[in-house]
Subunit: 246 residues, 2 copies
Amino acid sequence: MKVKEVADLVGISVRTLHHYDAIGLLTPAETTESGYRIYSGDDLETLQQILFFRELDFPLKQIKEIINSPAFDQEEALILHRNMLLKKRGQLDQMIQTIDKTIEHKKGEIKMTDKEKFVGFDFSHNPYEQEARERWGDKAVDESNAKMRSLSKDGKKAYGAEFNGIYRDLASIRHEVPESDVAQAGIKVWYDFLNKIGNYSLDAFKGLGQMYVDDERFTKNIDQFGEGLSVFMRDAMAIYADRHKK
Amino acid sequence: MKVKEVADLVGISVRTLHHYDAIGLLTPAETTESGYRIYSGDDLETLQQILFFRELDFPLKQIKEIINSPAFDQEEALILHRNMLLKKRGQLDQMIQTIDKTIEHKKGEIKMTDKEKFVGFDFSHNPYEQEARERWGDKAVDESNAKMRSLSKDGKKAYGAEFNGIYRDLASIRHEVPESDVAQAGIKVWYDFLNKIGNYSLDAFKGLGQMYVDDERFTKNIDQFGEGLSVFMRDAMAIYADRHKK
DNA sequence: GTTGACTCTAACGTTACGTAATAGTTTATT
DNA sequence: AATAAACTATTACGTAACGTTAGAGTCAAC
């Protein structure tokens, strides 16, 4: 069998097989004169073993040793690894406890200072920040983030209220217009927001609108629209706001 | 405070501080004209935060985002991360169970089919085969492999038993003699084995011993001894056995 | 014989630093 | 002040397990 067959059969990538060959973990039984790797039935069995141990989080180095060793070694390795896993689980429990405590602690804090916590800019886990950085450059993103942080409490709150409105609008779009119109409707929400803020040049808006329409993610399907756009858009708006407002 | 002070204070390396500076995670408040990093009290607090999240296994990228965010973000991050940890723990439990099952299974299997299952020479995936080929030539290796495969089941079993003994001896060496003596002790194990087999010329042994001592891998440190030698030695022995026995 | 599907070998990118290597700076000692 | 010791800085390669191009050759079908 050739690489792709094997890869598809067991559900790994061709690259992975190449890699295993490169590190000598699984060298195919034969190779054609043109250099194609041909895997035998035995190779497949070995591969199963490898994947089994990989599933258990063994490093490839160890797997290599294990499959090259008599059976008793495997059992020993399993037991050792089991102990490692138990230890790991203990550590996880520790970490979870620590987090719980911290959250409790913070909760107390929040009740005390409640007021400012409420708004909810979550630029921190923005999965599109990377994309935004590539689109607009690091400086723009960093500056925007900094500006966000430096907003007054009232400023944040106001901004947050705006976003809440947008979120509501976006949410309703998803349920109230046919899929094909989602993009247009989304643009409208956006447009309205920009108008409301009132300090964007028309050019800036055009750029945003075009970008939005161009982006596959936003026109492909509704789920992605909701998931991707709301975050990405917020980011984009913030950055544009930072750049273009006078 | 300068780097080393900080590093020693919180128990991390200078390199780590350099790294955090390089990736923009913690940039010291000021630097002297000569380029020395000077950390402020605020920097130390931030560092504490960083180390806290690091303790919880957050990737630095996320930590960077988190410490750049208002407090409520941190809570959300904590909750998200907590969920991740719970999932991880679930996976660990799965893995442990799988291992337990496998061990049980193997136990049964060994009892059932004991005979051939137990030996298991897999020279086909021997990572040192290439090296062996270079050292001793392809023909020797191929012949040896062929011979291995052609052994009767009892023959394999006997051979396997020998190797089991060697493995045990090697394993004990690693724990029972000082590092400096590992090489010597390893040679002794080897020597004993050869004597037991009883069909090696003294010359063959000399060659083996010398090769063994010459090889960096075997004298450099204990870990490598254990990792490399046990496999390599097995190979070397088989080949020498093939060549020199009469 | 040309296309499409597949294969090969590089070689860089990723995480969080460890580990030199080389060179300049500050502090302590003589 | 001269010298040594201790410290600091900046590259830059190495690690684990592949993902991801990129460029080029191969095989089977039409």
